[in-house]
Symmetry: none
DNA sequence: GATGAATGAGATTTCATTCAT
DNA sequence: CATGAATGAAATCTCATTCAT
């Protein structure tokens, strides 16, 4: 990947995350990246191709980010780690997640491959803890972190720590 | 509001919810409503005005929908009722919420007036239950129902009841 | 069909015929027709739709033009009439035919419905004249008038009349 | 001419003939020829230069192909040979002629130098045969083979032989 | 109130061509 | 000689909005 390609990708991610995919024209991306508009299409074929490239890159970096959490032995650590996840996003990951969450709502672009390993780890953990219905418990946590992520991504809560504590207590982790 | 106005409003809500606000042209709305495109602008000034009108209407109907839940005396009933809320959406409310949730992600249109009374009721309930930090507890529940709503609106979970049970148990309500 | 629609259609026919379909941008058509570019798409959906509309109109006018030739009783009159056809094109028909002939060469847009009745009439005429192979004779004449039409449409021959005479003599009509 | 230059030329001829000059981008030519796009411009300056080179090459090969027909002594053999010409195209010549015929219709690129010797030979032949108006007769045959060529190049007629026979009979050759 | 013709700005995309390496 | 990254102009098309009737 050349320097310009990377510049396009990062600029597009930023703008897509901030202003939405639909509302961000390729012309805006090109201008912000300091690049001719044609170059975007030469490298990424079309606007959707640009989005795909962002997704591939983002997914990789996201997976590598939470891999070590899922691999822990102690089930409580796994659950706690997962619940804390949305609070610990890097800037790049922040933009990627924001874009990902916004895209859920249009078309069926949403890609389950990104949450599947998390769910698996949760089921595992709840099984170890002898939960009655580990699958339902896992789904419950997924809902919860979806809500947490939404809140974080939209920069809403001021009292993050306090909220986190009440939640962790509920789960006894 | 005349019959035509109502037709426009309902059609627009449906299309905006199903295909997104940006991706739905005023021309599509007009065609689907069986109305000339000009009429939309005569009644609602511009596309944003149409959206506003939808929001006003939706909010009213939403508030009236959960008013009786917030007014209950028993704090546990209030909390339980609020958590169950997303599972009990009528078709019209379903579309409104879907649109509302999708719009969160673009621009800063999000309107707190719609969740404010819910938060208040939750704080009240948790105070009655002698929670340590009622505000944080309330925020926690709000996050949770955000996640639940997202899941319901995107028609994902099959085992709704089981999930709901595990959650209610956590909250002991 | 409104006045503007007609203006667009006629202007497009002229430009397409003179400069080719591919080389004529919708912007050029709009400018030449004194109309906004968007209007073309509102009325004809896309550039191809504009072409189709031209074709439909042109075919009608063309068919009505040579109908009376095909309907004559005397077979020699029919053959003579058909051979003379390309020499008697009105300005509008001239442009239509030029466009039609140019389009033959790109894609498989060519529409046989326009030459089919001519072929039928020729077969009929040659049958009446007891030709050995009326079908082959008809095809032969079609080739010939294709050549003639090409020549006329590209404004080549100066000595049209003399050429026409030698040909008619060959066919003894 | 290097091997690469030849590859470019042949590939371009093929694509131009099959899909049209306008519709064939230099990028497609480069890809199909297995060559960088820049190389086309290094060798042929611009797209039009590429076309010119094709024309020069094609004309040479075309002329050499029918030279021996034009040089025959017997006038009837000359006329017959010329009429049969379009039925005897090699693959390479086929593409060249298809391109040539398609290009007639756009711009005034048509090059008379290619048909001039044929016309001369025809006038000569008809003069020897004591035709009343040899020039008109020659033009008549040129029209005819134009029609025949068009038909052959667009791969239309199934009963080629029968058609050819009726025509040759008309010309008594 | 209602229509629908018309506009103009802007979106995505294509493509011949240039140029540093 | 050869590559391929990069450009910029132009092409097709979309869409919110205006306006005469």
């Amino acid at each position: 990947m050349t320097e310009r390609q990377e510049k396009i990708l990062n600029t597009a991610l930023k703008l897509f995350a901030e202003n939405g995919y639909d509302s961000t024209s390729t012309s805006k991306v090109a201008k912000a990246a300091g690049v001719s508009e044609g170059l975007i299409f030469r490298h990424y074929t079309n606007k959707e191709g640009l989005l795909s490239a962002i997704m591939v890159q983002g997914k990789q970096s996201a997976l590598s980010m939470y891999k070590y959490i899922l691999d822990q032995q102690d089930p409580k650590s796994v659950i706690r780690g997962i619940i804390k996840l949305p609070f610990t996003l890097s800037e790049e990951n922040y933009n990627f997640w924001k874009l990902l969450y916004a895209l859920k709502w249009q078309a069926d672009v949403y890609d389950h491959s990104i949450s599947a390993p998390v769910k698996e780890a949760l089921i595992n953990a709840f099984t170890k803890l002898n939960a009655e219905d580990p699958d339902a418990e896992a789904e419950g946590v997924l809902l919860l972190i979806d809500g947490i992520a939404t809140s974080v991504l939209l920069r809403k809560p001021e009292n993050k720590q306090a909220i986190l504590q009440t939640i962790l207590k509920k789960y006894n982790v």
